[in-house]
């Protein structure tokens, strides 16, 4: 048995330190002497580089230290994973491109053809994190006006068509959202392996689709007992359908040589959080169940960073330091590895890890934390075999 470890590419710029919330890597902030914004040299004149060159650095770091690949997120103000992946195809060797994708973005037949081409361009290194979308104003920003349960119905049909087109000539389908008559991939493209599907979504409608389609059911980190229940439920549901559901966790780490150093960095980051950031994270409109489960931690109301320690090495204020989920792991290298081992024991089969800054932390976590994994889980893993 082995566990899949992925890294993450920051497609919205990056911070040079967890201490400060400013996006001082990339051109999401105005160019200045304290920013590393590839494309702008020291004198703020164009230097021929672009943010993609920074992403290339991170992808190459991740593959060097042993991550299988990386999640490439897709939000309104990010660069796009469908373009990033082929751009970086030829300068990476083993890095797998996990494209975050909403079915509303593209027609499933066109997307299947593009995916098969990307498989050919990368030697089979494409996979997806299928997201149905948080709903609300963000969904209309994308030009997508489906209601929540309808959106999962569409996701399920989209995946039916995407897979159906791949598996043969003359594929036909009559659904509520998609009707296809005699579709198929050209012969050369049909040879490619169907991409692995990771799937996100916490609502009941989402779990149903996951059971049918997902290779990996992906969740943000939640308090361990809550996550254990969630994974057990998903695995049970899929088993009832005669399948086997793998589960994965998306989690940020602050891993340092000692626990004191790790908490010190959290404390400094927390003390630098501005009121503007707190207000930004307060009460954002969404009908995402996963986001609501995280919001229950209420990090924006905390006065001291210690108020947000929800369990040993678990801190619930990460969304104050950078965009994304609230809960993450903080500790020494050994402690971080032990918490990941514990998650494996509780049903995790894969991880998307991240740390800030993404480049340096890819090296650190790859070199210092990954090698410590399995020490705590080994007895259990052996028992399972």
């Amino acid at each position: 048995m082995s566990i899949d470890f992925y890294w993450r590419l920051p497609t919205h710029g990056c911070h040079s330190s967890i201490h400060r919330g400013s996006y001082d890597r990339g051109d999401w902030s105005p160019p200045g002497p304290h920013n590393i914004a590839p494309g702008f040299g020291r004198d703020q004149e164009e230097d021929g580089f672009a943010y993609i060159d920074h992403l290339a650095e991170i992808a190459k770091a991740a593959e060097s230290v042993g991550f299988l690949g990386g999640l490439i997120p897709s939000f309104p103000n990010t660069d796009d994973p469908w373009v990033i992946s082929p751009l970086l195809a030829r300068e990476t060797k083993s890095f797998r491109f996990m494209i975050a994708f909403q079915p509303g973005f593209g027609n499933p037949v066109h997307t299947a053809r593009a995916t098969a081409s990307l498989q050919r361009a990368t030697g089979g290194r494409t996979l997806f994190n299928i997201i149905t979308g948080g709903g609300g104003p963000a969904q209309l920003w994308w030009g997508d006006s489906f209601a929540h349960d309808d959106r999962y119905g569409r996701t399920s049909e989209w995946l039916d068509v995407f897979r159906g087109v791949w598996s043969g000539e003359g594929f036909s389908y009559k659904g509520r959202f998609y009707q296809v008559d005699g579709a198929g991939l050209p012969a050369l493209l049909r040879e490619e392996e169907f991409p692995e599907l990771w799937f996100s979504g916490s609502s009941e409608a989402a779990l149903q689709v996951a059971s049918k389609h997902a290779d990996y059911y992906l969740s943000w980190l939640e308090p361990f007992d809550q996550l254990t229940d969630k994974f057990a439920k998903v695995k049970e549901r899929t088993a009832a359908l005669g399948g086997e559901q793998k589960c994965a966790v998306r989690v940020d780490l602050v891993a340092r040589p000692t626990e004191e150093e790790a908490w010190r960095d959290i404390r400094i980051g927390f003390e630098n959080v501005t009121d503007a950031t707190r207000n930004q994270w307060r009460g954002q409109a969404t009908d995402s169940v996963g986001a609501a489960r995280q919001a229950a931690l209420r990090p924006t109301e905390a006065r001291r960073y210690e108020d947000l320690i929800v369990a040993p090495n678990l801190w619930g204020g990460f969304n104050l330091l950078r965009g994304g989920p609230a809960l993450g792991i903080v500790g020494s290298y050994e402690q971080c590895a032990a918490r990941l081992d514990e998650l494996i024991q509780r049903g995790a089969d894969g991880f998307i890890l991240a740390g800030t800054p993404h480049l340096e932390e890819a090296w650190r976590i790859g070199e210092e934390v990954l090698p410590l994994l399995g020490r705590n889980a080994s007895s259990l893993l052996q028992a399972a075999e």
Binding site: G26, D27, W28, G39, E46, G48, A50, Y51, I52, P76, N77, D79, D80, W82, V83, I84, S85, P86, L87, L88, A89, R90, E91, G104, F105, G106, N107, P108, V109, H110, T111, R113, A114, A116, S117, L118, R120, A121, G123, G124, P137, L140, W141, W142, G143, D144, S145, V161, Y173, Y178, Q179, V180, D181, G182, A183, G184, P186, L188, L189, E191
Partner: protein
């Protein structure tokens, strides 16, 4: 008028080239260590590098339903080849216009603005059915119109709201830095009145197919008239296969072997350069040239035809 030249990278042409699995195995005495991941993507990158090295301004990738997807190839070759503009063609049926526009921003940002958009002609009804594209013949132009309105709208304006028959956006539009670079240069096609009218509203370049000079002149005049009425200027381009050799006789011999594409200009370097210059005189400023095998012919055209073309059209400019 400045002439821009594009070399065509056709993913469906020469289908067996650089595709080891489609060719006979090499004899056993030849030690063959190629890996399964070696395929035409290596060739596409070579073609783009060849175009960049031989003086083309860009490469044009037609949309082919039976071969590799043009936008995936475009990103791969853009990273592999410096300087040149990369113009993939794709249909307005690909999906969300917002998403397509957002992909374009990444492409522009990552290449220093070397991306173009060519909208492919719409497919016939049977192909559309096979692609899950539920739209009637009479709505096709309207959809492309809306697709382009939304794509440019979200790039240029925030907030952008649009409610059409095919696309809907509310409080959309990109923030900095996504829209720091301009929207890609837009290429449209088609010879009918609706296509010309669509170009008059949206296109930067309208690409015509090879046609007799009088017909081309009439089409260009009509396009320019419609564009002027819309308060815009649209450049004219031509998708033009060629077959050139040192002498016209060699070119004719080669064409007799079936090497010339449909509607190809066949002749000597000097002769075809003069033909293209006459087309430039009609108002064509963008040439999408093609010939197979693409690598060898691209080198030939880049090395021998383009300098003659630029020299002739440059001389005209100097006189004018």
């Amino acid at each position: 008028m400045t002439i821009s030249s594009y070399w065509q990278i056709d993913t469906a042409a020469e289908p067996r080239r650089a595709e080891p699995s489609l060719r006979p195995r090499l004899p056993a005495l030849v030690r063959d260590r190629r890996r399964p991941s070696q395929n035409r993507f290596d060739y596409y990158a070579q073609l783009a590098q060849a175009a960049a090295q031989t003086g083309f301004d860009g490469v044009f990738l037609p949309y082919r339903r039976d071969a590799d997807e043009s936008r995936i190839v475009a990103a791969v070759v853009a990273r592999a080849a410096p300087r040149i503009v990369v113009v993939p063609e794709f249909p307005a049926s690909v999906g969300s216009a917002v998403y397509a526009a957002k992909q374009a921003t990444t492409f522009q940002r990552s290449t220093g603005g070397r991306f173009g958009w060519a909208i492919a002609p719409d497919a016939d009804a049977a192909t559309r059915a096979a692609e899950g594209d539920d739209i009637g013949d009479d709505a096709l132009h309207e959809r492309t119109d809306e697709f382009l309105t939304v794509a440019r709208g979200v790039h240029d304006r925030r907030p952008f709201t649009f409610e059409g028959r095919h696309f809907e956006v509310k409080d959309g539009g990109f923030d900095a830095p996504l829209n720091r670079l301009p929207f890609p240069k837009l290429f449209l096609q088609g010879e009918d009145e609706e296509a010309l009218a669509l170009s008059a509203r949206h296109a930067d370049v309208h690409l015509f197919r090879a046609a007799p000079a009088e017909r081309l002149a009439a089409l260009i005049a009509r396009l320019e008239g419609l564009a002027a009425a819309a308060g815009r200027r649209v450049a004219s381009g031509l998708i033009q296969p060629v077959l050139v050799r040192e002498t016209e006789e060699e070119a004719r011999q080669e064409a007799a072997r079936g090497a010339a594409g449909e509607g190809a200009l066949v002749g000597s370097f000097d002769g075809v350069a003069a033909d293209l210059t006459r087309l430039a005189d009609l108002g064509i400023s963008h040439f999408v040239l093609s010939s197979t095998p693409s690598l060898e012919e691209g080198y030939r055209v880049g090395q021998h035809l383009l300098p003659r073309l630029h020299s002739l059209t440059g001389a005209r400019r100097a006189v004018a």
